[in-house]
Each structure stands twice: as structure tokens, then as C-alpha cells.
């Protein structure tokens, strides 16, 4: 039995090793100082530039998307576990959220494209619209994962706190959330990792740009967009840049993962 489970765990790691190895093989060669400090320039010949604007764009857009999706997602999950219970309203919310997890990312992008971009709400293609599309994508994941985790908080803990006279909000804030924190962090990270790597929602909302900008009301660059653009190129050095960008994306998510886990671990103590 131990052998079977160990095999399972190892099988799970094989594709990881293969893919990461492949990524390193193709992407590491394009990493350099200038890779991270210059913007892509669109030149057909010579140095095609680095991916600085893509990295910063991704960080900015995903930060905004997370700022929307994570608190709102945890809030809705809290509602579902603490107050909603088995009620009709909660049931309907649950079904809608479940269904949303299966919607292809491109449909979210198209939805925002139709509702915000074509209607020209606050500009045409903008960075913040990309963030909204991503947050729509991330929201169901956060809600679903948070709900699973919050349900696991033993009711005995809740009841004990209530029996000690703590008001409901205190129970939530000081008992439920801290207990569920590692799981909440995991769920949020899953959603953020997903958000960082998605191309389709951004293609129709942020549209991409080569130059560096921090203005979310303009077209912005992002790593997935840069990868999508570069992979199309017939030039080997540009394709190599795409792989370098993909490697950067994985590295960013890994760093985020480690940092967030360290924080969660320390605060649970």
C-alpha cells in the first residue's frame, strides 16, 4: 500500500520534472540582465528586447485582480458556510459558483469585451478591464476552495467559542478564519497562479502593448500576452524570449507560493 501511494506521488512529479526541465532548456538561455530590464521593442532584426513591461504589467494586473477576487471570494464562502447553510439562496449561489468554475477563460474575456470594452466604459482596452476579467476567472476558484476549507473547521471549535460568550463576528474573525488560514492561502494561491498564466481573458480586454506603463487605464503588457505574441514569431530569438517569459512566469508563481506559505505558517504559529 505504501508502495502504491508512493508510486502515485512520484507519477505526479514526473510531468512536473519533464515540463520544468523542458522550460529550463528552452527558456534559461534568454535570461540575462537586460532580459528583465528592457522592454520588447518589436524589432525584426537584432535585439528584440526583454520582457520588463510584461513582468510589471502582469504583477500589476494580477495584484488588482487578486485584491478583488480574494477578499470577495472568502467573504462569499464565509457567507455560505456561516449563514447560508442549506438555504435556497445559498444553494443557488453554490450552483452558480460551481458552474462558473467550468467556464473557459476566454468566455470571461469575451464577456468583459462585450460589456466593458465594446461599450467603451472608461476607455477602450485597458489594464483594469483585464484585471476584472481575471478576477471573474479567479472568483469561483477562491469561493469553492475556501468553502471546502471553511467547512472543515470543526463545529466544536465554533460552539466552544460561542459557549464562551463570543459574538458571531468574533468567532469568525478569531476562530474560523485563523483555523482555516493555511487552506485559504492555498486556495487563493491556486486562483492567483491560474490568473497569472491566463492569456485569453487578457487578449480581448487589455490587448497588450510593448512599452512600459503603470497606467491601468491604458493598454498594458502582460507575460501571457507576450508569450502568445512571441510564440507566433518565425524568429528563433523571439521564440526563445517566449520561453524565457514562460520560465519567468513559473518562477514568479513559485516565489509567490513560498512567500505566502511562509507568512501563513508564521501567523498560525
Amino acid at each position: 500500500m505504501r508502495g502504491v501511494l508512493l508510486t502515485g506521488a512520484l507519477i505526479a512529479l514526473i510531468p512536473l520534472v519533464l515540463v520544468i526541465f523542458y522550460l529550463l532548456q528552452k527558456g534559461l538561455s534568454s535570461w540575462s540582465g537586460s532580459f528583465f530590464t528592457t522592454d520588447p521593442n518589436g524589432n525584426f532584426f537584432g535585439n528584440p528586447g526583454g520582457i520588463r513591461s510584461a513582468i510589471l504589467g502582469t504583477l500589476e494586473i494580477v495584484a488588482l485582480a487578486s485584491l478583488i477576487a480574494v477578499p470577495v471570494g472568502i467573504g462569499v464562502a464565509l457567507y455560505l458556510t456561516e449563514y447560508g447553510g442549506e438555504g435556497r439562496f445559498a444553494g443557488v449561489v453554490r450552483y452558480f459558483v460551481d458552474v462558473m468554475t467550468g467556464v473557459p477563460s476566454i468566455v470571461f474575456g469575451l464577456f468583459i469585451y462585450i460589456v466593458l470594452v465594446l461599450a467603451k466604459v472608461g476607455g477602450a482596452f485597458t489594464g483594469w478591464k483585464g484585471a476584472v476579467a481575471l478576477s471573474l476567472l479567479m472568483l469561483p476558484i477562491v469561493i469553492r476552495a475556501a468553502e471546502v476549507v471553511l467547512l472543515l473547521v470543526p463545529s466544536s471549535l465554533r460552539e466552544a467559542a460561542l459557549a464562551l460568550g463570543a459574538p458571531r463576528w468574533r468567532v469568525v474573525a478569531r476562530v474560523v478564519l485563523p483555523t482555516a488560514l493555511p487552506g485559504l492561502v492555498t486556495g487563493s494561491l491556486l486562483a492567483i497562479a491560474r490568473g497569472m498564466g491566463e492569456t485569453a481573458p487578457l487578449l480581448f480586454t487589455t490587448a497588450g502593448a510593448f512599452g512600459l506603463t503603470f497606467n491601468l487605464s491604458q493598454q498594458m503588457n502582460a507575460l501571457p500576452l507576450q508569450i502568445y505574441n512571441d510564440i507566433l514569431s518565425p524568429r528563433d530569438v523571439v521564440v526563445a524570449r517566449a520561453w524565457g517569459a514562460a520560465l519567468t512566469l513559473v518562477a514568479l508563481v513559485l516565489i509567490l507560493n513560498l512567500v505566502a506559505r511562509a507568512i501563513a505558517r508564521r501567523s498560525v504559529a
Binding site: S34, F36, T37, T38, D39, N41, G42, N43, F44, F45, G49, R52, S53, L56, L59, E60, A63, S66, V117, L118, K120, G122, G123, A124, F125, T126, R170, A173, R174, L177, P178, L181, L203, F204, A207, G208, A209, F210, G211, L212, T213, F214, N215, S217, Q218, Q219, N229, I231, L232, S233, P234, R235, V239, I255, L256, V259, A260, I263, A264, S267
Partner: protein, 386 residues
């Protein structure tokens, strides 16, 4: 409450620290590529405001979307024009999406391979102008051991290959066209595009032109129901599939094929000549063709005796009055005109067959002149654009 606050604030501050650190890296990095839009105010008027912000002293930001064939050209031109104060962004989402974006004026220009149809112009906010900009050949690239050059194919044979009627390379039909080449008995694997693409439309238009059977059974469009073969996504997918499969044949954009040293066939044109998809032969496809008043040309199976028969044109589409219909500011309109003048002028010199030029065929001078003439009709709120 303190612990959660601490947790939440420490998480937020960690993310904030990460952001600040990366911003710090950016600030210390080279500042040469700061775009003109970074400090520009967001579009002021709500509703119909355009995304092109006019900056100071002739600088403008132009956003475009559309054809993937032309993306490389516009990106290169964008890089060159940056030093002149023009920021050009191009989103290669496909000709259809580009036109849709222009129809809603979310971009200042669209790149489209096919000419505008009446259904397209009907939904535009105002009269639109289309300008042929460049040409790209569609090569019939293949992977056949021992046959590195000299393969000749004609329209009907290509039709039969892509219909699955000719299944192996030593089929009599192919042999008849290539008497001097020893063809192996490898079976043919057809590779076609799986995603919607103007390249497919160009190729299938050629096949429909030379074969009424193809026209009625399959048709010509950006996506068709292929009678046989494997689908691969995008040029890179088709290129990879051809490389990996011995005996494969597929249609690949010229820029791709030339850059990656592909083996392609010489195709018979309407004058009976077998022509290779070189840049000069591609430009020849535009010589002597009928040019409609709206410049909506088509270069499939067209041109002179040296013309390669499968050539796709690509257009730049803009509003005739970008200010009135597209919500652009006057400086954006000037920037647009500057971009277009460059496109038919100095930009044309960046396209060609030499090793320092982009592998696309430039416009013949007559067409460039016609483009420029049409450009002068562009107005901003009624008055000519400066």
C-alpha cells in the same frame, strides 16, 4: 482581532513589498523605453473617448488589432516610429476581431487580410478606408526525404492532395509534373490550420479558383471543413507538424517559411509558369491587377507571368474621419496619418528580399501612389488632417 489584522496586513504588505521591489528594479533599469503613455492623463471624456491619448509635441499612441500575417510588420514599424514620438501597439487577434474592434472604435486601425465586405462596412460608425499595405505569399511547404528542391505542383494536383485523392508522393499525377525527380512512395500527410486564419482563406481561395469541385465541396473561408489531414494551431504549429512528419505537406506563410529555411514547391500560376514563392515573385502578383475604387484588391491567382499564384494581400483599415467617427483627438488623427504615410513611404523600404528587410513583398509603386492619394482624403471633423 489583532492577529487577523496582523495576518492580513502582513500578507498585504508582503505583496506590496514584492510590487515595490519590482518597481524599484524597473526604475533602476534602462529608461529608454518609457512610453509616451505612462504619464499621460487617462482619456478625459467618458463614453466615446478613444484610447489614443495625444501627448505633447506631436506624440501619439495608436492602438491597432487584427491580422497575424501583418503583425510582424506593424511591430517593426512601431519600433522604428517610436523615436519619432509615435507609439504603435498592435494586438494580433485575427482579421475578424480587428475589424470588429474598428467597428466599435476601440482601436484606431485594423489590420485585415481580406478586403472589407459590405457587411463589414455596414456596421462601421462611418465611412472606412482600406489601404493595401504589403503582400505575403502562402507556400506549399513539405517534408520529403531526398527531395530538397525543384518540386513542381499545380492547382489541380494540390486540390487532389488536400482532398485526399492523391495519397502518396509517387502518385502518377505528381510524377507527371516532376519527371526529373525520383519520388519515394511515402504516404502524404496533409497538415492544415486548425485555427481560423486569413492564411487558410487565401489558400482555399486559390484552391476554389482552380477547382469547381473544391469550391462546391469545401469552399473558401478562414475555417473550412477539411476533407483530410491533421490540424495544427497557427503557423508555428503547422511548421512544427511538417518538420516532425515525413511526407507531410502543408501551407505556411512566406515569412515563416523563409525565416526557417523550409522546403516549398513551385506552383503553377495562371500563365502556366511554375513559380517559387520568392519576394519578387510575390510582388509580381500585384502588378497589373484590377484595382477597385475602394482599393479592395485580391491577389490570388493574379498578376503577371512571373507572379506566384498564392499571394495574400493585407490591408490597413481606418475611419475616413477618425475624429468624428472614431473619437480620436486631432493629434491622434495626425499620428494616424503619419503612420499611414510611413506605411506607404519609407516603411515600404523595410520590406523585401534582402537580409536586412522583412520577408514580405512591398507594394508596386502604382499602388503606393493610389494609397497616398486616398490618404489625403482623410479628415478630422471635416477638415483635412495635418
Amino acid at each position: 482581532m489583532n492577529k487577523e489584522k496582523k495576518v492580513r496586513t502582513s500578507r498585504v504588505s508582503a505583496i506590496a513589498a514584492l510590487l515595490l521591489a519590482s518597481l524599484g528594479i524597473a526604475a533602476c533599469g534602462s529608461s529608454s523605453s518609457s512610453s509616451s503613455s505612462s504619464g499621460a492623463p487617462a482619456p478625459s471624456s467618458g463614453g466615446s473617448s478613444s484610447s489614443g491619448s495625444g501627448g505633447s509635441g506631436g506624440s501619439a499612441t495608436l492602438n491597432g488589432a487584427g491580422s497575424t500575417l501583418a503583425a510582424l510588420i506593424y511591430q517593426q514599424w512601431g519600433s522604428t516610429l517610436k523615436s519619432q514620438g509615435l507609439t504603435v501597439n498592435f494586438n494580433p487577434v485575427g482579421s475578424g476581431a480587428g475589424i470588429a474592434d474598428l467597428q466599435t472604435a476601440t482601436v484606431q486601425f485594423a489590420g485585415s487580410d481580406p478586403a472589407l465586405k459590405s457587411s463589414d462596412t455596414a456596421k462601421m460608425k462611418g465611412p472606412a478606408l482600406q489601404f493595401p499595405v504589403a503582400f505575403g505569399a502562402i507556400t506549399a511547404s513539405y517534408n520529403l526525404s531526398g527531395v530538397k528542391s525543384g518540386l513542381k505542383l499545380d492547382g489541380p494536383t494540390l486540390v487532389n492532395i488536400f482532398m485526399g485523392k492523391i495519397k502518396s508522393w509517387n502518385d502518377p499525377a505528381i510524377k507527371a509534373l516532376n519527371p526529373g525527380i525520383s519520388l519515394p512512395s511515402t504516404s502524404i500527410t496533409v497538415i492544415h490550420r486548425s485555427d481560423s486564419s486569413g492564411t487558410t482563406k487565401g489558400f482555399t481561395t486559390f484552391l476554389s479558383d482552380v477547382s469547381p469541385t473544391w469550391k462546391s465541396q469545401v469552399g473558401a473561408d478562414k475555417t473550412v471543413k477539411w476533407p483530410t489531414g491533421t490540424g495544427a494551431a497557427k503557423n508555428s504549429g503547422v511548421a512544427a507538424a511538417i518538420k516532425q512528419t515525413s511526407g507531410a505537406i502543408g501551407y505556411v506563410e512566406q515569412a515563416y517559411a523563409l525565416e526557417n529555411g523550409f522546403t516549398y514547391a513551385a506552383v503553377k500560376n495562371s500563365h502556366g509558369q511554375y513559380i517559387l514563392p520568392t519576394i519578387p515573385n510575390t510582388s509580381a502578383a500585384a502588378v497589373g491587377i484590377a484595382v477597385p475604387k475602394d482599393l479592395g484588391i485580391s491577389t490570388i491567382n493574379a498578376g503577371g507571368a512571373t507572379a506566384y499564384p498564392i499571394v495574400s494581400q493585407t490591408f490597413l483599415d481606418v475611419y475616413k474621419d477618425p475624429c468624428k467617427d472614431g473619437g480620436a483627438s486631432s493629434s491622434t488623427a495626425s499620428g494616424l496619418k503619419k503612420f499611414l504615410s510611413y506605411a506607404f513611404g519609407a516603411g515600404q523600404k523595410t520590406l523585401g528580399a534582402s537580409s536586412s528587410q522583412l520577408p514580405y513583398a512591398p507594394l508596386p509603386t502604382t499602388l503606393a501612389t493610389q494609397d497616398n492619394t486616398q490618404l489625403q482624403t482623410m479628415t478630422c471633423n471635416g477638415s483635412p488632417v495635418s
